[in-house]
């Protein structure tokens, strides 16, 4: 399509203006407000015991949820790309459920199952208003990423290399480790990065099941919300800046992985 020069410039200004107004300016302002009063205040704000606890809880939850979802995701992608079984379409739809359902609903559903009087409410350890609940909620909302990244890669690669490996003497496990996994590694890596970003940023589902006990079940996003509601704006900005910083790091990782993923 060819467009006249004034139109072309107009469209560009519109698109860039849209991005700037909705994304760049607000995020830039967060950083600006954060560092407005110097780095010392920020440092103090993100090293309070509550902040350190929130930060480490967020990382712990992510460190549990992402590996589990990676293993599950690769197995699921293998089943979807290679398997021939009844109910494949159903499995495919179920995997997208966390995309479709609001995280708040996920949180409530977990309370119905694991909360007091719930279906699995009598476990020997506490789930709701405790770390296991947060982990479950985070796993739930980040299930689709690895599956969705890896399935098309597996389909694209095909199974001929695996067949070749088997004719050369490799068992299924050897073929998986030596041939399948290396050929999908960048797809897996991309899925992992997306999962990490989603896990760290999760708010809705975690908010419902965590109980928000400061220093115990408060994640970084919950801390931002609490500080904001307590009119501790500087503190909220500092914690937000930390979140945004992690997000930018993930973005960087994604940009580095993406071209490699396309190479294969």
């Amino acid at each position: 399509m060819t467009v006249d020069r004034p139109w072309r410039i107009g469209l560009r200004v519109l698109a860039l203006g849209y991005l700037a107004l909705l994304l760049l300016i607000p995020i830039g302002l967060v950083f600006y407000r954060t560092f407005e009063n110097g780095i010392g205040a920020v440092y103090d704000s993100v090293t309070t015991p509550a902040a350190i606890s929130a930060f480490s809880l967020t990382l712990t939850v992510t460190a549990i949820a992402v590996p589990l979802n990676t293993i599950f995701g690769v197995l699921c992608a293998l089943a979807l790309a290679r398997g021939r079984f009844r109910g494949k379409a159903l499995l495919n739809a179920i995997i997208d459920l966390p995309f479709a359902i609001s995280p708040v609903v996920v949180g409530l559903a977990l309370i119905l199952v694991f909360g007091r009087g719930g279906w699995l409410g009598d476990l020997p350890f506490q789930v709701i208003f405790s770390v296991p609940g947060i982990v479950l909620a985070t796993i739930f909302i980040s299930i689709p990423f690895v599956v969705r990244e890896v399935t098309p890669v597996l389909t694209e690669v095909g199974d001929e290399q695996e067949q070749a490996a088997s004719t050369l003497g490799a068992g299924r496990w050897q073929a998986f480790w030596r041939v399948t996994l290396p050929s999908i590694r960048w797809g897996v890596a991309y899925g992992v990065v997306l999962s990490v970003a989603r896990c760290i940023g999760e708010f809705g589902a975690v908010s419902v099941v965590s109980g928000k006990i400061s220093g115990e079940t408060e994640t970084l996003t919950l801390l931002v919300e609490k500080r904001f509601q307590n009119f501790d704006l500087a503190g909220a900005y500092a914690a937000s800046a930390l979140l945004a910083f992690i997000a930018l790091a993930t973005l960087l990782a994604m940009t580095m992985i993406n071209p490699r993923r396309d190479e294969e």
Binding site: A164, S166, T167, L168, G169, V179, S183
Partner: protein
């Protein structure tokens, strides 16, 4: 010897193999020849263990291999689209089977060097498959299959994805390799010229069954039926008989048993001349003569001649 005993295989409603039996002698180079959908690739994949037959059995060197997984059949398999391990170098690709078998490193290095020499890829050790041409990739795939010293080498349309010139070169090269290595080889192809050029024996397949098995000469000279005759080379049909174009003799005078015909076109193809003829009440036929014969006959379009046929095959109308 590889023995295929009464093997059947269906994919849904499609019958890929309808009860096939075949014996492949040790040290031979056998071609499975047929049009697409004839079941030849399925048969090869069943011999390899990449597909399971619905019924029937596969024996490799006297032992029942029907339920043996591919990795324990002692086979080498070469795929039409190479199936190169893209994330590995040429050296790692060729070494793959030996590393799986935990052979000593020195031995692997030696053998890889030796094989890359044999397939003409010496010096390409550290390249990746995407840095090789199609022909080179397929030679690498052959080296990889030969590295594990298979009892049987199975090739599924190995030259099908290559251009005509490379295909012809690799064909010759494979034949010479086979004469040197003597590993029992089964080759799937839809190209009759390829099958005739390199194999000792050909099994012609159609619609999931074997139509005829024999040497190239035998199949060409004594085809069991019209399908085999048509598949192995051009034919003309006169009455209820099939005849090869070079078994049609063109005469300038009538003779007993000869039929009159009108020359409709003379095509000069270098040494060979194709003469298209019309015989009353028949489909158009074409005869093949040498340039000298054509010159002596002084054929012109529209001229009347007589044709006599030899080595015909009667087929049901």
């Amino acid at each position: 010897m590889i023995a295929v005993r009464d093997v059947t295989k269906s994919f849904g409603d499609f019958v890929a193999l309808g009860g096939v039996s075949l014996e492949i002698p040790d040290g031979s180079l056998t071609a499975l020849l047929g049009p697409s959908g004839s079941g030849k690739s399925t048969l090869l994949r069943i011999i390899a263990g990449l597909e399971q037959p619905d019924s029937g059995a596969i024996e490799i060197h006297g032992a029942d291999a029907t339920r043996v997984p591919p990795q324990r059949r002692g086979i080498g398999f070469v795929f039409q689209h190479y199936a190169a391990f893209k994330h590995m170098t040429v050296r790692e690709n060729v070494a793959f089977g030996m590393r799986i078998r935990r052979q000593p490193k020195d031995r692997i290095r030696e053998r890889v060097d030796e094989l890359l020499e044999v397939v003409g890829l010496a010096g390409y050790h550290e390249r990746y498959p995407n840095q090789l041409s199609g022909g080179q990739r397929q030679r690498m795939a052959l080296a990889r299959a030969l590295a594990v010293e298979p009892k049987v080498l199975l090739l599924d349309e190995p030259f099908g994805a290559l251009d005509a010139k490379v295909r012809a070169e690799l064909r010759e090269w494979l034949r010479r390799l086979h004469d040197k290595v003597h590993v029992t080889t089964v080759l799937v192809t839809h190209d009759q010229e390829e099958a005739m050029a390199i194999s000792d024996r050909i099994a012609v397949m159609d619609h999931g069954s074997i139509e005829q098995v024999g040497g190239p000469r035998e199949l060409y000279d004594r085809p069991a039926n019209g399908f085999v005759m048509r598949f192995l080379g051009p034919v003309s049909k006169i009455g209820d008989s099939l005849v090869r174009p070079h078994d049609i003799t063109i005469l300038l005078e009538p003779e007993d048993g000869a039929r009159d015909a009108v020359v409709s076109r003379v095509v000069h193809l270098g040494f060979e001349v194709r003469v298209e003829l019309r015989v009353a009440g028949e489909e158009a036929i074409s005869a093949q003569v040498t340039r000298n014969e054509a010159d002596q006959l002084e054929l012109v379009e529209g001229g009347v001649v007589w044709v006599r046929t030899t080595h015909t095959l009667a087929v049901p109308a």
